[in-house]
Symmetry: C2
Subunit: 426 residues, 2 copies
């Protein structure tokens, strides 16, 4: 007898800090069913929320999950030698099994640091999809597209995209499929337009890199006569279903174009700083124009970890310094940037702890030095804590971590280590 279809598991979290009040939270099935001062109902699982706070699971708006395998393999190098001599040669040797274990490691790290939702772009789509499915988090997964203006590459990519899209019924509804053209300098206009049509025909979102370096802007102008955002607009790719990672080099016209078309922008401070891509992300101007800004870690080859708490602090501190204004990127706004774009960016109704939202919740341990005193929970989370303050993680109504333990974590570390060392020896 299979109860899965009929019976909704319930979790009752008692006496937890939620937005500076003490509340009970009832989860039923995948959703937050009820929030109240006291809920006196039975539940399959009761969690004592005392000395803990509930915050939404965070959304990592841009990453390449399986690159965890290359963490620490090459650092402190200029962008092109780093890519050409180190990263790309390794990526040539990757297998689907490598990607599976790399993505498992990434999911483990995200669970341990309070991230329940991510936007991923990488090779070997099925490896990542299987890992996310098993690990229990949420993801909008894209299959990285490149054709380098080569017809055969474009045709192979189209065929693979169709196959992966058709395979989606295999996976949990925690996984959304989206289109992932790598960048305007690696994907031809023709393939970009096919991607646009495929997305429109199938109701899919699009995620791509844009305006990450001054060189990219320069090349775009040389090749097309247009700046990157203008180019995407000219070929009809700008609409509310596209999210753009980086966007450091934007002029006022481009910011208006992004706002007018309802696009989302994902800021990746660790990666942009470490690769010296640029530290002048125009957060305030984008917000004032009405553009949704999300945060991401980028892959662990550039950002080195997947900790969105650290990402919040980097975004805020670097933003204040770069614009010489200690009042911008305030704690409350920064925290929201890591939570609330979830639905627009990935299509999942998560990022808030409210009735009817999906039950993606971190329980924060308040008995930590870095969380003491608790004058201002959000300030402590953004400026003082890191992802290790997460004690318990719930995603889609299921407990993925309790008391900082994730079932099976030892095996994931072992297998990811094995695969990573094998990869560099191949």
């Amino acid at each position: 007898m299979n109860f899965k279809i009929y019976y909704k598991m319930s979790i009752l979290i008692k006496n937890i800090q939620l937005n500076n009040q003490i509340k009970d939270i009832l989860i039923e099935g995948q959703h937050i069913k009820k929030i109240d001062d006291t809920i006196s109902l039975q539940a399959d699982k009761i969690i004592d929320g005392r000395h803990k706070a509930a915050v939404p699971g965070l959304t990592n708006g841009h990453t390449h999950a399986a690159m965890t395998l290359m963490r620490g393999y090459a650092d402190d190098m200029p962008l092109m030698p780093w890519l050409e001599e180190k990263i790309w040669p390794l990526e040539q040797k990757l297998t689907e099994d490598d990607v599976y274990w790399g993505a498992k490691l990434a999911c483990l790290e995200m669970i341990k640091t309070g991230t329940t939702n991510m936007v991923d772009m990488y090779h070997f789509f099925a490896g990542t999809a299987r890992a996310v499915d098993e690990m229990g988090i949420r993801a909008m997964l894209t299959y990285a597209g490149f054709d380098f203006e080569l017809h055969t590459k474009a045709e192979t990519y189209k065929k693979e995209v169709k196959q992966y899209f058709e395979s989606m019924h295999q996976y949990s509804d925690r996984i959304h499929f989206a289109m992932g053209p790598h960048a305007i300098y690696t994907v031809s206009k023709k393939l970009l337009m096919w991607i646009k049509d495929f997305a429109a025909d199938n109701g899919l979102k699009i995620h791509t890199h844009l305006s990450e370096t001054p060189g990219e802007v320069k090349d775009s102008i040389k090749k097309t006569g247009l700046r990157p955002v203008e180019y995407l607009e000219s070929i009809g790719l700008l609409n509310s279903n596209i999210s753009l990672a980086h966007c450091i080099y934007l002029n006022d016209t481009e910011i208006k174009m992004l706002a007018d078309n309802g696009c989302q922008v994902v800021h990746n401070p660790a990666s942009n700083l470490k690769l010296s891509s640029g530290n002048n992300f125009r957060y305030k101007d984008l917000k004032n124009a009405g553009v949704t800004v999300a945060l991401g870690t980028d892959g662990t080859c550039s950002g080195n970890n997947l900790d969105m708490y650290e990402t919040m602090k980097l975004a805020s501190l670097n933003g204040k310094a770069a614009w010489n204004n200690p009042t911008i990127w305030n704690a409350e706004e920064t925290f929201k940037t890591a939570c609330e774009p979830a639905q627009e960016l990935t299509g999942f109704k998560t990022g808030k702890i409210e009735e009817t939202y999906l039950a993606d919740i971190s329980l924060i341990d308040l008995n930590l030095p870095e969380m003491t005193p608790n004058f201002n929970l959000i300030s402590n989370l953004v400026y003082s804590a890191n992802g290790n303050c997460v004690d318990t993680l719930i995603c889609d109504g299921k407990i993925l971590m309790e008391n900082r333990h994730v079932p099976g974590e030892e095996e994931i570390l072992k297998q990811a280590t094995r695969v990573a060392f094998d990869l560099i020896k191949r």
Copy 2:
């Protein structure tokens, strides 16, 4: 019968990763006695070092420990309203007992994040000294000096400094006393020169804030005709016994002056970024000139935490971006900056794991997602991990934390919370 004087406790750490090799480390009394492939001696305590790495305890080169009590109390404000409306009014109400509990919380946080040595400047010297003494870490403590050009304030300060200096016999030799004039804009020339003489007469080091904001440089020129470093040089304060926190606004002449006089500079990236003091710290120029650069967190009102692992990442990433050079502040160099200036800065022979050095050692847990794969330990520590990767902390040959538990930590969190909430209600 008191064995303390005659009997040296020993700790043997077996099979631990040390600089990419597997070693045994024998600690006897306060010191590292022996490092070898295999040490087959008896010891009072044996630690299994498998799946762990040994790194030096870090030095936090600039903080105001007891300000942990005000963590999160006021953020996202411009410098002067922040100080005048929020911080200074609270500090007026502080008691020695408050400072004691604030410093206990700070020491706990440092122990939990691998810091064994700090440079502190604050009010109620005895409160901090007692806390450090009990908690078992090392510190160079200064009593913050201000006279605002007022003779009576200067006289009171001198009297108090003498009293505190004479009280040092009460405390462990893990505590060094040093002089701590707050800054050139809060301390008169006359008092600065008395401080210089008192330091020289008693073989003491001096620690002060310098060149933190453009306004400070402007005011110095207006008042003295000299830039801050030039002013200190003109009154004879520059020598190898002085360390200077911040030093963001230096010209080439000042850098040469610091180098010629053997001064140390302490960079505080979190504070400088968050308060928008400046993100152009001239690390490379200072290093090239031969100046010793250390790292600090500043107080938790500006930097919000005391995690030196996070501080390393902020220094490196922000430095790369600010100078548009991904190769500077490389992982190895950044890590050394948090360890090796210890002796010059604070007078303690620590910051390296070598025979004859003081036994201040962190044992890093390698079974963590953020430490996997372990291609490059130092890269993982600087770019991926945070202070929570420290599993066990040894300072002065004593185990202060094991399996991330510090004896008495619950009581410290409770008392610090009580004191902090009482403070804001007074």
